[in-house]
């Protein structure tokens, strides 16, 4: 039954909609020219995705895809769930690439004067020869080469700023000729910055102290003892801070 229905449906689709030729791992398929993403196109062709699929909305990096076109060998990179198929697109997914990451505690990241913590964790970083492949691969269009240079110079703040949108899809590691993993290096840089370099939130620290010292305990007890009506009245009368 299912086979018949699918065949009949396909026939109907092809009558009404222009079809595109795409190539999945070298196999040619026809998919409707209807704005399908690479991910939707894979499923249209009958693939039941196990690897290479995650949030389906551009946040998690699971569906990193490498592609080019039959008429143009230049390699391009994108997220399958966010990239629309085009005529003659040639697609391969690399859902995983081996990258040994350093194991560390946040405590290990504490910056030290005169020491580049990132080079300490990832010594290979110094073998980068600036080929810029990492930048080319980034489906988020980040200036990866720049933040790798920043990492080499120990400028953690810049690493944080430039790598913030990183989804850790792993494509930069898959294509780095020196076997580096820019996404892991940047992650360590961002964590270091967040834990140690970002200005501390004094008011937060103060509030935590107040709570721990029990400053709010008495008020809380009062609220717990109120009747439903009293609570509603208190709620209706509370002052609301202007939004902006």
């Amino acid at each position: 039954m299912a086979q018949e229905t699918r065949v009949a449906e396909e026939g109907k689709v092809e009558e009404k909609v222009k079809m595109l030729d795409i190539y999945i791992m070298g196999k040619r398929y026809k998919v409707p020219d209807a704005g399908l993403t690479i991910q939707a196109a894979l499923e249209y062709c009958g693939y039941n995705l196990i690897r290479g699929c995650g949030c389906r909305e551009g946040f998690c990096g699971a569906c990193a895809t490498i592609y080019n076109f039959t008429y143009d060998p230049t390699i391009k990179y994108g997220l399958a769930c966010q990239t629309v198929v085009e005529q003659n697109m040639v697609i391969t997914q690399i859902p995983f690439f081996p990258a040994a990451e350093s194991l560390y505690n946040v405590g290990d990241l504490q910056p030290k004067e005169g020491v580049n913590k990132l080079a300490e964790l990832y010594p290979d970083i110094l073998t980068c020869f600036g080929c810029n492949n990492c930048t080319k691969t980034c489906p988020q269009n980040l200036e990866v080469m720049e933040f790798v240079s920043d990492a080499i110079r120990g400028d953690y703040e810049k690493v944080y700023e430039k790598s913030f949108d990183c989804l850790l899809c792993g494509l930069c590691a898959a294509r780095c000729p020196q076997g580096l993993q820019p996404y892991n290096i940047a992650l360590a840089g961002r964590r270091l910055r967040g834990a140690y370099l970002a200005p501390k939130s004094q008011h937060n620290l103060d509030r935590v102290k107040e709570i721990e010292e029990g400053n709010f305990d008495a008020d809380m007890e009062k609220l717990k003892k109120m009747s439903a009506d009293e609570l509603r009245e208190l709620y209706a009368k509370r002052e609301i801070e202007p939004a902006l």
Binding site: G26, P73, I75, F97, G179
Partner: protein, 233 residues
């Protein structure tokens, strides 16, 4: 054999298949280890004997991030190995008609203009599971030295790993393929005795003798066979 029984008798390794940890007995190749873990291979499996390149694998170790490359069917598993297969990598291969090509370096550049963008990073050599000096033949290709390319690339099983790792998007294996064909057709001297023999056959020189053998009775045929002169090795 139940897993526990296996573990008692044989040393077990921890390996990571796309980061999932499995325990496998010592002595397996990456390919048979995948099957031991329950994977039934569709992609990434071919001749199972080291000749076809289907099972190209990238791996490293939890204790050593250096990337290594091998054929899954020919590489033994080791403790803490982390493996991933790359069964396909997009490379646009142009069409050409060998009869219309000239066996020159310029001709190769015309078909593969990107060849000139190679900057000698040596990733291709590092990624070759056949231990071919890929960088050497890429240089030879740029110099138009077809014999050197043919000799150096002869063991290429076309696994595609060099293309997967070339930062300039080149496919050394396709470039070498074209050059070897040009070498075989144009640069190796023609075989005169082959051409002569083909001519003789087409002129029907051997047909009568075959007809005679065809109608020879079996006893006689066997005798002729047993008594035929065998050229010394």
């Amino acid at each position: 054999m139940a897993e526990a029984e296996v573990a008692e008798k044989v040393r077990m390794f921890d390996i990571y298949v796309m980061e999932k940890r499995y325990k496998v007995p010592e002595g397996l190749t990456i390919q048979t280890a995948l099957e031991y873990c329950g994977y039934r291979l569709i992609r990434g499996c071919g001749c199972r004997g080291g000749s076809c390149g289907a099972c190209a694998t990238v791996y490293n170790f939890t204790h050593d991030p250096t990337l290594r490359y091998g054929l899954a069917c020919q590489t033994a598993v080791e403790q803490d190995m982390c493996v991933v297969q790359i069964p396909c990598f997009p490379t646009a291969k142009p069409s050409y008609d060998l009869k219309e090509l000239k066996p020159t370096g310029e001709q190769v550049l015309e078909i593969y203009p990107d060849l000139a963008t190679c900057f000698g990073c040596n990733n291709c050599t590092q990624s070759c599971p056949q231990d071919i000096e890929v960088m050497d033949f890429m240089s030879a290709a740029l110099r138009g030295d077809f014999s050197a390319v043919t000799a150096e690339s002869f063991e290429c099983v076309m696994c595609g790993m060099c293309a997967a790792r070339c930062p300039q998007g080149l496919s050394p294996y396709n470039i070498a393929m074209l050059i070897r064909r040009l070498h075989g057709r144009y640069l190796l001297p023609k075989s005169k005795h082959l051409e002569e023999k083909v001519k003789e056959i087409e002129e029907g020189k051997y047909d009568a003798e075959y007809e005679k053998l065809r109608s020879t009775p079996m006893e006689e045929l066997r005798r002729i066979y047993d008594e035929r002169w065998i050229e010394p090795k």
